[in-house]
């Protein structure tokens, strides 16, 4: 069952470092661009033990039966005494998360803006779907990943389309958030029956809240005057009025109604956060959808995977996804 392997890439050589690794975790999160990979390497100073081959700046690639799950650059190393050496790696999106920049876009389509950013920061592009929203904006000393997020949010507000941004095999993909629902399976032993993940749900928890609700949207123009107010009357009646102000760009006046409707759709609801622990499946990544029914806590529906932490410990793959109502 040697499914997952971690290979270190250094110059022209790749080394399978799996035999030296204790616990391995990787995670993805909707709020952050890029995957994080954590692992520790056994350390020993006798001649009979391999010298630790890992170094800051090296690349590691996580494979499962030869198929790439994610790749990361080692950015952080902790040595403490003779304890295993801990490493943190991030995929290329790290450079977008850590760099700040100045950009001015003038009526450039959202996808063209993002393509330019990726090119400037040497991030290989897998696929960036056409996003027909002209962006006119100045970004000064902003994190590059935040600029991309802001561009996508602007497009989402105006077009009512949700986008998924993720790194795959070291390349940037931005696609319409698909309605493809991931399913997970696991085996109790190699060659054994494949079970659906639902058959082994551990530690479910469900949180419901109206703390972040907004059921009334006030759209404000650039002269600080309210252009229009739109309410979700049913929700106001039931939960009281909670207002959110949205500032409009000069050239967006015509779409004020559309923006208010899109904002209501997003905020006028009970926020539900669900968490479970499942046997691991590599298909689980932040931004994808999962259908879950758990009668004890009452988690039921098709959810957006907000973040997911995969863990391989003692050779056993488990994961902790957290879900958001889509």
């Amino acid at each position: 069952m040697m499914a997952h392997e971690l290979w270190l890439i250094k110059g022209g050589t790749k080394t399978n470092i799996t035999p030296m690794i204790g616990t391995l975790t990787w995670r993805s999160n909707m709020a952050e661009l890029g995957d994080e990979l954590n692992f520790s390497i056994a350390f020993n100073d006798t001649n009979y033990f391999p010298v630790n081959p890992c170094d800051i700046g090296d690349m590691v690639v996580l494979l499962n039966n030869g198929k790439e799950i994610t790749r990361a650059i080692i950015v952080d190393e902790v040595k403490s005494g003779t304890a295993p050496i801990a490493y943190i790696g991030f995929d290329y999106a790290f450079y977008l998360n850590k760099s700040t920049a100045v950009y001015q876009f003038k009526k450039l389509s959202a996808d063209a803006c993002i393509k330019k950013l990726a090119k400037d920061f040497n991030i290989p592009i897998g696929k960036i779907t056409s996003i027909p929203k002209p962006i006119s904006q100045i970004y000064n000393d902003k994190k590059v990943s935040d600029i991309i997020k802001d561009i996508l949010e602007t497009a989402e507000k105006s077009l009512g389309v949700k986008y998924l941004m993720e790194m795959r095999q070291g390349k940037l993909y931005i696609e319409k958030r698909s309605n493809v629902v991931v399913t997970g399976t696991f085996q109790l032993y190699e060659g054994g029956t494949k079970y659906d993940n639902h058959s082994a749900i551990m530690n479910p928890s469900k949180r419901r809240s109206i703390v972040d609700m907004a059921n009334t949207i006030q759209v404000v123009g650039n002269n600080d005057k309210v252009v229009l107010t739109k309410s979700d009357n049913k929700m106001v009646e039931k939960y009281g009025r909670i207002t959110k102000v949205v500032n409009l760009d000069q050239n967006e006046k015509k779409s004020a109604k559309q923006i208010a409707e899109n904002e209501l759709k997003q905020f006028s609801k009970i926020i539900e956060e669900n968490e479970v622990e499942l046997m691991g499946d590599d298909n689980f990544r932040a931004g994808r959808l999962f259908k879950l029914e758990e009668p004890v806590t009452g988690i039921k529906g098709t959810f957006l995977i907000k973040d997911v932490l995969h863990t391989i410990s003692k050779g056993i793959h488990t994961m902790k996804p957290s879900f958001e109502v889509k």
Binding site: M1, I9, G11, G12, T13, K14, T15, N16, I17, P19, M20, T46, N47, Y48, F49, P50, P53, L188, Y189, H198, S199, A200, I201, M202, N203, P204, M279, E294, V296, K314, G315, I316, T318
Partner: protein
């Protein structure tokens, strides 16, 4: 059945003069039990743990007719094993007439005289040592 301990590709070998009347090899597994909400506990098969065994016997202070080997006496055996501990090297355990041929680490070595015979009674705990070979390839 004879028991041989050696280091560094048989550069130094001990044949145990008195073979213990019994020993058992522990071969553990790192399985996990997960408590699920719909199936109760499920058992997930993990990876193999390290084999181990403890040899309990004595090093004779004089040559008994039933000694398997007379290369060393009493404390000399202790000195050799203590020097191996100091060298921090794995040792090889071979038990003849069995399939046992394992690289092992010394986990503990208890010894001391008993009942005035001058023989050194000991208990030697060994744990499996796995040599790690990292697979290397050229990046295409």
């Amino acid at each position: 059945m004879d028991i041989f301990l050696s280091i560094n590709n048989r550069k130094q070998i001990i044949q145990l003069p008195i073979v213990p009347s019994e020993f058992k090899i522990a071969s553990p597994m790192n399985n996990e039990t997960f408590t699920t909400i719909n199936q109760g506990d499920i058992k997930v098969i993990g990876r193999r743990g390290l084999k181990s065994l403890t040899i309990e016997s004595f090093f004779p202070s004089k040559h008994y007719p039933f000694s398997r080997n007379r290369a060393y006496k009493g404390w000399e055996y202790v000195e050799i094993i203590e020097s191996w501990i100091g060298k921090r090297v794995p040792i090889r355990l071979i038990i003849t007439n069995t399939p046992i041929n394992l690289a092992m680490t010394i986990e503990n070595f208890d010894y001391g005289p008993q009942d005035g015979s001058g023989d050194i009674y000991y208990s030697l705990s060994l744990s499996e040592f796995k040599f790690i070979n990292l697979d290397k390839k050229k990046v295409k």
